[in-house]
Symmetry: C2
Subunit: 503 residues, 2 copies
């Protein structure tokens, strides 16, 4: 009786927090898509204010009292009931928030907006010095943020925990070392061969038709345009303002067919996760994605496991050829499949193939750990970046634009916990797809007909609908019966690239 | 010493309020431009939350104490000093806000968002019944809002006062009666003649070129695209998120050249007002426009007094003909000038010419007063609308879409105080232009060369920069030396239309 009243009151208070955070996401989307440059200073301040007010509202002691009052009720309910889950997740968010002063969050947010704006100018100008002071402040703020959570083993741990609950610098290092030991021989075996021919992708593909095809495919995936839209930004992203409004952005290159298409497939994967949340979770702490890694598993699943598979293109290549009859005349399925899966040592993470991609992530993780520890300085970062790329990927960047300036993350957020999710996502994309296949062996055949309902529904049921109800480790155990393992991912890579490169 | 500290603290608190309101404006802009339909329910809730939180922050008793502490300082400073003006305007806003419960404002805002959404469907469907329950609630909420300000003569007075400080139902009725007595003979004299030929505007004008030309003209006016942009909405509007980000929207008809062009000129007039605010007022109560009427005076000045003048088209007609050589071949300046100033009794306010426009406004004012008094019901409104249009404008609407559903105002806001500003704006557009001419008789010649610097700078100095520092009545007295009068406006109409129609 009282429990329901308390729960309603808790939901009303946390609904305000969610509204403020979602409003802030609209401001961020606008900043990245349509805002004129003159709007930047005020926008930074406005986003800071919304973040501060949201934090003030979240650390309202009334929320603490309600959570205390509801503890007995929570314990009386099944762990996976909506009510128990709501209280459990709300408590975790609340206790974390209590440790961060609202004014600090405001400062972080305002700094992030200004720093992002500086980055949008510094990258095309290839001028790291324009963002260096910002980045130094970002590092300082990131350390301060970690220090609100004393008792860590590594200073990055609290920041990693924000993004990928349950992970630490040490556990990720172990996981990544294991992965690297498996990847390096595959990369070596592939790159010792002649590179795949991807010239069929590198012709003139007019923007309008690319956009049409790219939208058609994600519609067929199940991305709901009544609850979303696609805009253009320099760096594609997904953002969500409610379960009814989950947007993606993309970018286009008229001389490379892969850019817009795979950006769309990737971001639509993120978006379908949030569009698929249980609608009962709207406007509360259970909505959203449960971790960076799980989120990324969905983008990578739809981008790579599905979107770069041979079966997928059995259906879609003829459609693509109908759209671009000149450019793709006579291109066989094998040629096309090899082109979109070309493995090469490259400069840009977001353009990297599935196999080398994780090597890019490992570079960034190591830098984040070193910067936070203090064993690397921002001043030395651009040079360290170039050295590491030469060593790990065997490539020399012609500029900082294609080096340390290539990723937005550090320039709009914090240093720490920003990148490990990509590789965790790759690992989990194979893990989850494996489980879907076990439950529905007909999925590959469905895909060859350009249909994705069975796969999409399985993902909805097992991953999208529960949203934040389970942490990533809980979700992995529920779905696979085991803890996280890299085996299915390694197996997936070995099978796919073994065939492509006759390893 | 303490005064400066108190003033800083006041500015910091009110800066938060401004940030929340500006963030809400971004949400409103997005709702009208790009939001997918699925986003509507959450958006209504989010906008309500932002409005409620802004109101909570504004009625913070700390603000009241700071205002009390600053009263002596305010009195010691010149009336038109920035500090005294800041405190004076902040106090007026604060005292008004104190009377409105935050939860009420939240409800009003959420209702407005839902009601707006319903209107976007009801108007194309010509289905008043879809919005009738909304409108009944709007009327109820509007009355409640007025009742938070007891002691009024007419229930509309508080609502009129929000938009046009210092005006009341009675004073507007007197002013409008006087205006009507002057307008009706002019309308009669014109409409007894053969209508002007505007067929040159009613050809096929492709959207892209219209948009280019429309953007070029407002750029030449002085609308700053680094601090603004133009998007498309069903109902054009101006909205401002900061002095550095003031956006307009427009709409296009490919079979009517006047639609996009004059929407642009109108909204750019609004926008240049806010772009021209003293930058020191950014993020505080002095920024913005001082009243609906003064705001409208700027849109009407740039749309009509400038944009429909013969001198303006001496410069721009050749440019327009270069853009549309086929459509405008052989069209003389006289023909074009007569076409864009065609006077006729018509159905749609936003399409109405300068002379009959005010008759449309008077219909709406009377309905607002009657609805609020209770002498007219929402149920009877569609029929009353048709009757009144037949009587006052001699036209019969084929549908409610072109009747009671034509204007967004009541469907997204309140009933009361929404329309008088348009006619006050018309009156003041001539008043202010007259004063600019007295100071700079060379303005008409400048305009004939497609330059607007002298006029724009005079407006900036006298109207835009002071922003909300002076109330509308104060501003009119400062600029003209007298109280508001309709004489210059009547004179303007008589001269212009006397020549056009040889009256």
């Amino acid at each position: 009786m009282d429990n329901q009243k308390n729960l309603e009151e808790l939901k009303s208070l946390l609904g305000e927090v969610s509204d403020l955070n979602n409003a802030n996401a609209v401001l961020g989307w606008d900043q990245a898509t349509y805002m004129p440059s003159g709007g930047a200073p005020a926008r930074g301040r406005q986003m800071a204010t919304l973040a501060t007010v949201a934090q003030e509202k979240l650390i309202n002691p009334k929320i603490g009292h309600l959570l205390d009052d509801l503890q007995k009720y929570e314990e009386s309910q099944p762990f996976d009931s909506d009510d128990a889950s709501y209280i459990r997740v709300a408590r975790r968010d609340y206790e974390r928030a209590l440790k961060i002063p609202p004014a600090f969050l405001g400062e972080l947010n305002e700094h992030g907006a200004n720093s992002y704006q500086a980055w949008t100018e510094a990258r095309p100008a290839n001028d790291f010095s324009k963002v260096r002071p910002n980045l130094e402040k970002t590092l300082d703020l990131s350390r301060q943020l970690a220090d609100f959570f004393p008792g860590y083993e590594h200073i990055a741990d609290p920041l990693i925990d924000f993004a990928d609950y349950g992970m630490k610098a040490a556990s990720i290092r172990t996981l990544f070392a294991d992965l690297r030991a498996n990847l390096v021989p595959i990369v070596k075996a592939i790159t010792s061969q002649a590179p795949a021919d991807d010239s069929c992708l590198r012709k003139h593909y007019p923007e309008a038709q690319q956009a049409e095809f790219g939208a058609d495919v994600v519609r067929q995936y199940g991305y709901d345009f009544n609850r979303g839209r696609i805009d253009r930004t320099p760096h594609p992203f997904m953002t969500s303002f409610s379960i009814g409004d989950v947007r993606i952005t993309t970018r286009v290159k008229e001389d490379f067919l892969g850019e817009l298409l795979f950006s769309n497939l990737h971001e639509a994967g993120h978006a379908m996760y949030e569009q698929g949340n249980d609608s009962a979770y709207e406007g509360g702490p259970l909505a959203g994605g449960t971790s960076a890694g799980v989120h990324e598993s969905q983008s990578r699943l739809w981008e790579n496991v599905v979107g770069r598979s041979r079966g997928f293109w059995e259906h879609f290549l003829p459609k693509l050829q109908a759209k671009f009859p000149e450019q793709l005349k006579g291109v066989s399925l094998d040629t096309f499949h090899a082109a979109i899966n070309k493995v090469e040592k490259s400069l840009i993470r977001t353009d990297a193939d599935e196999v080398t991609y994780n090597l890019h992530v490992m570079v960034r993780l190591d830098f984040e750990l070193q910067l936070l520890e203090g064993s690397l300085s921002i001043r030395d970062l651009p040079e360290a970046w170039h050295e590491r790329y030469e060593k790990d990927l065997g490539v020399t960047a012609p500029s900082d634009s294609d080096g340390v300036l290539q990723d937005v993350h550090w320039y709009g957020g914090i240093i720490g916990g920003s990148f490990q999710g990509y590789t965790l996502g790759n690992i989990m994309s194979a893990l989850f797809y494996n489980e879907a296949l076990k439950a529905h062996p007909e999925i590959p055949n469905e895909m060859k007909q350009g249909r994705f309902d069975i796969l999409h529904n399985w993902l909805k049921e097992n991953i999208y609908r529960p949203a934040r109800k389970y942490t990533a480790p809980e979700l992995v155990r529920r779905v696979t019966g085991n803890d996280l393992t890299i085996e299915p991912y390694i197996q997936y890579l070995k099978t796919k690239y073994g065939e492509l490169y006759s390893l």
